[in-house]
Symmetry: C2
Subunit: 304 residues, 2 copies
């Protein structure tokens, strides 16, 4: 028996003139230049940026204390004049504030929330606690490539298919699948296991990426998801880029692709690796929670 896919409400697209809060829920900006770039990025997309109170704060490796970061995010969610939230950067720290966020505000007034990497924690919580589509997208401080800007615009401003064909992707296990887009940064995603912030994966196309992780660590994260029973009902595995993920020569067959294929074989689902998602200049924006189709042979992902 196949369960019906879990549906999520999509927030309204961010049209021209939309007021977008620039919030730093995790790591700090390096300086005002990065905030300036975020402001320019938002304006170039036709939006009116609104920098949050602690956008330039720094406390250790956080953009301000937990209270400050949670407060900025809650302000943006509660303010009826704010139409969307674009996270300034990842780093680490979003998961620390998940139990301080006003999810009922987001449920009552769904808004597009954008970011990736550490923002994966926020996406998981949004899925689980608010039932809203959110956007795995470059952070606001990024120097946006034309490729990334085009995909982001299609996804967030128009609600159109923001993926496509990834010519250089690797078909690890052929096949096709249809399911909800879920996932994000694997290390952060795995760190949500056991908490009330891991999105349900029944009926999902699970999309993952990572940076600075040895293959055995990727293996361990996937093992946690498997042993926790979190992968039940996953319909496909799509991996983006693993940036600076060393494969040791003497580890023989335990390459990243071998580890991914092993998981896909165990799940008996198709697997495509190397799509433009992750810590790279050319990124697809993914509407997490929306339905998509994977056609491995064509190396295609389509939001439907």
């Amino acid at each position: 028996m196949t369960l019906a896919p879990l549906t999520r409400r999509a927030p309204p697209p961010l049209a021209a003139g939309a007021r977008v809060a620039l919030v730093a829920p995790a790591g700090p900006l390096r300086g005002p230049d990065e905030l300036d770039r975020a402001v320019a990025n938002a304006r170039a997309l036709g939006w009116e940026p609104v920098a949050s109170a602690h956008a330039l704060a720094r406390t250790g490796y956080f953009a301000g204390a937990d209270e400050a970061r949670a407060s900025d995010l809650n302000e943006a969610l509660r303010d009826p004049r704010i139409d969307g939230v674009w996270c300034l950067r990842g780093g680490y720290g979003a998961m620390r504030v998940l139990d301080r966020i006003d999810w009922s505000a987001l449920r009552g007034h769904p808004k597009p929330i954008l970011g990736y990497s550490d923002v994966t924690a926020l996406h998981g919580a949004i899925a689980r606690q608010a039932g809203i589509v959110s956007y795995h997208a470059p952070t606001a401080r990024t120097t946006l490539s034309a490729f990334s800007r085009a995909s982001l615009t299609r996804a967030v401003s128009r609600g159109e298919d923001s993926c496509g064909v990834a010519e250089r992707a690797r078909v690890l296990r052929p096949g096709r699948a249809r399911g909800r887009l879920e996932g994000g940064n694997l290390a952060v995603f795995a760190a949500l296991v056991g908490t009330p912030y891991l999105p349900p994966l029944e009926g999902a196309i699970l999309v993952l990426e990572d940076i600075n992780e040895a293959v055995y660590r990727i293996d361990r994260m996937l093992a946690q998801l498997r042993l926790a029973g979190a992968l039940h009902g996953v319909r496909a595995i799509v991996f983006g880029q693993c940036t600076n993920c060393p494969e040791e020569a003497d580890d023989g067959a335990r390459t990243l692709d071998a580890v991914l294929l092993e998981l896909a074989d165990w799940l008996r689902v198709p697997c495509l690796a190397g799509v433009p998602i992750g810590h790279v200049a050319e990124q697809w924006t993914l509407p997490l929670g929306r339905m998509a189709e994977l056609e491995c042979d064509e190396r295609r992902v389509a939001v439907v």
Copy 2:
């Protein structure tokens, strides 16, 4: 209301002449020399070592395939002529075989099982699935210091207090506590969250150590434990060594000690850091599951 501590059965001590299986549940040995050293270590403790079938196997970063490693461990647990199991090394891979282990064999015939680092996954599963005391101890391939050998002997061969006073330990939050010893390598421990292999921590003195982790990663692992509700009822935090855990100068107050103190403050429990546990030459052997007392002011841990 304080719940009664969860008690675990202690296996019989390993007396002179005990037959001890040398098993590699995770990473491979570098070569036969390491197995020779493990054999010599066991004999120096008065035991009769029995190398498992795949003790020298290598498959990528594993000591043989999952089937082989699980088979070696199950052989040792099921064989009535084997009195104990000393893991040859850590690395990564024990958690991958936890769902293949014959826990009923261990419940039926409790045996001391020794190791640390990646073997933390085995300890967690032993606690949860078999209810047996197991030993956080140097791996068999280690060049044993006199300090480590003395503590190991007290714990495993005599069932005596194997801890003591750690002169150089840092009192992060004063106080005293009494509880079951639980824990191990933090990265591996956090990777058990959400699985059926995380030991219950109600009434525990939680002892942790790690290697090669930036402070923000330690922070993330502790956040996962906290958000998963796994820390409810923890009575004290004891941290061993964090070997090669860089603290970035510009991260200000987010040092390892600050992160540990923050957690101890949140739990309102005593916290002692820097005890001889971890990836260092001088290690206490910890009988996980046995009761212990922590006296922060005296920098003392005592198995009682």
